[in-house]
């Protein structure tokens, strides 16, 4: 194995080489640095890198720790001490984190090296990463297309072998959807499973941190390190954390998979539909029982989401006022003008739209009609899932109704962009866990675009969802396929 081949490895394979002392962590960082220099000018996954610090950390790393010597990319909305934390916003462009988020503290304790921050839709608001105020990220499978979002930088970095794994955040699908569009694995844990302390809040009752990786095993390895109770996040769940990686390896016999009939909507790309059908058939042939289920409130999920999420965002983003940190407008007349100009100049259009919508649905006279009603329908959605999980172990659907769309194709119409989240958004409202795994390709304009299969599980059932996803993955080759840019980089 030459240094050039190292970046293509999964975390698990990298670790066995490190532990057999066939390579050292320093070589891994060097190989990754070369890889990023070769492909990231085309992809645009990273907003900042600290490879010198990473190389130093690698020298001192203990490769026998659970993630010892493994460099990981971090979505630039999670605080890593001393590194920028821009949220891809002009308002935080010069911000430097003064502390480590709990997930970073835990990753470091497990021996991982957080070396770089990845691009995202500004404050994680978007489904294509086009809302980044700082950088354009391209899909490694087809550079004229989006990588998905909002964790698009994390997804593109992993897909292009420019990261061994990454952290993202999922508020309405922001880990699963970019994972699907970029052809990798993306895992959203149960709400409260992973501490949000040190994550810049977008929608506090929906946000959850999780891994984006090349394989299901790698996702389990990262989950082992980051899951668990944290006193610094009052919504963190005080529940025992199983060894997710050790639980992999079960087959699908006796597993009950639910197909929600409401998910067979019009507007699903026929190639996506065919790939999902083939995956379901395959899991059936591996012993899984396929059960028809109903989630009647599916049609309300997006509407509920865009009320609840914007309401919470309008409150959370009130802290960006030009006083204590971040951008400050010049020449403000007085204090109110300072707030107004700072926020006008500092936020991008999608963030402003959402703050305004959120302010409106919480405002006097409209609170009951919008916010309170949405929270009630949200409870119905939660009950729908609870009922479905009495009958099945997991729900199966496409992750996204379409493969990666073209840059600019949907940017002009916010509502059309919102509708792309139809399959992922309800899981956040219900607080349950879910994963996207590669399940095929669509042929579009002579290019292969990845398709993702979504599996949703009940709250705290991460171990089972990872087992099912792993059992499926192990009987396919989809996760082994690399985008053209990855192959090109290795030949060069």
């Amino acid at each position: 194995m030459t240094e050039k081949d190292l970046p293509a490895l999964s975390i698990a394979d990298l670790q066995s080489l490190l532990r057999r002392r066939e390579i050292c962590a320093r070589e891994v960082v060097n190989a990754l640095r070369a890889r990023i220099e070769a492909v990231d000018p085309d992809i645009g996954a990273y907003l900042s890198l600290d490879m010198d610090a990473a190389a130093k950390e690698a020298e001192e790393s203990n490769v026998d720790l659970p993630l010892g010597g493994v460099p990981l990319a971090i979505k630039d909305i999670i605080n890593v001490m001393g590194q920028p934390c821009t949220c891809a916003s002009k308002i935080l462009q010069s911000y430097r984190a003064t502390y480590d988020a709990t997930v970073i503290r835990k990753l470091r304790a497990a021996g991982a090296i957080p070396f770089g921050k990845t691009n995202l839709d500004e404050f994680a608001m978007g489904s294509s990463t086009e809302n980044s105020a700082l950088k354009l990220t391209r899909n490694p499978w087809e550079l004229s297309r989006v990588p998905g979002g909002s964790s698009g930088g994390s997804a593109a970095a992993v897909a292009a072998d420019a990261a061994f794994g990454a952290l993202g955040t999922d508020t309405g699908g922001s880990i699963r959807q970019p994972a699907a569009l970029s052809g990798i694995v993306g895992f959203k844990p149960t709400y409260g499973r992973v501490s949000r302390f040190g994550l810049v809040a977008f929608a506090s009752s929906l946000d959850q941190i999780g891994p984006l990786t090349k394989t299901v095993r790698d996702a389990a390895l990262i989950m082992n390190a980051i899951a668990g109770h944290d006193r610094q996040d009052s919504t963190s769940l005080d529940e025992p954390v199983p060894d997710y990686a050790a639980r992999l390896g079960h087959d699908l016999r006796g597993v009950r998979l639910g197909l929600p009939k409401e998910y067979l909507i019009e507007g699903i790309d026929p190639q996506v539909k065919a790939a999902i059908n083939a995956a379901v058939k395959q899991m059936n042939s591996l012993g899984a029982e396929i059960v028809d289920v109903s989630l009647p409130t599916t049609e309300y999920a997006i509407a509920v989401y865009y009320i609840v999420a914007t309401a919470e965002a309008s409150a959370n983003l009130a802290r960006f006022d030009g006083v204590r940190y971040g951008y400050r407008a010049e020449n403000a007349k007085d204090m109110l003008d300072l707030y107004g100009c700072t926020r006008e100049e500092g936020f991008g259009p999608e963030v402003k739209r959402r703050i305004i919508l959120g302010t409106y649905v919480l405002s006097s006279g409209y609170y009951d009609a919008y916010y309170l009603r949405a929270q009630r329908v949200r409870e119905l959605i939660r009950q729908d899932f609870a009922k479905a999980f009495e009958k099945v172990d997991a729900l199966v659907s496409p992750t996204s109704p379409v493969p990666a769309f073209k840059l600019g194709e949907r940017a002009a119409d916010p509502l059309q962009m919102y509708l792309a989240d139809i399959f992922t958004i309800a899981a956040n409202l219900a607080g349950i866990c879910g994963i996207s795994v590669p399940c095929g390709f669509a042929e579009v304009d002579g290019r292969r675009l990845p398709i993702g299969l979504q599996l949703l599980g009940k709250a705290l059932d991460e171990a089972r969802i990872l087992q099912i996803a792993h059992a499926y993955e192990q009987t396919t080759d989809w996760h082994k396929a690399r985008p053209p840019i990855a192959a090109a980089g290795r030949k060069a």
């Binding site: 919504t235 509407a303 007085d334 929270q375």
Partner: protein, 96 residues
């Protein structure tokens, strides 16, 4: 500005402390009216016997000892301030 709903973007932007330009206000007015029209479907849902969900999962108040512990220094807290002096955040004059 033309409006097809109760939403007055220019007014709500003031509440949200965002000095929108007129062109932005006009664009957002149209775009957000589309979104509000879409969310009207929530009125079809029967929520008569349903309590509002605060979170997807039941989460209760979490208490801890009210004890001091080490946390941010003033220096760290000020390290990202756009303007600061003498251990304070400096802002435009508030009181005339």
């Amino acid at each position: 500005m033309a409006r097809n709903s109760d939403l007055d973007v220019a007014y709500v932007a003031k509440l949200a402390r965002i000095n929108l330009t007129e062109a932005e206000a006009e664009l957002f007015q149209k775009q957000l009216e589309d979104v509000l029209k879409y969310v009207e479907k929530l009125h079809q849902a029967d929520v008569s016997d349903v309590e509002a969900a605060g979170h997807g999962l039941p989460i209760f108040n979490v208490f801890r000892e009210d004890a001091p512990r080490d946390w941010f220094t003033a220096e760290k807290a000020l390290s990202n301030a756009p303007r600061q002096a003498n251990g304070l955040f400096i802002v435009p004059k508030v009181v005339e």
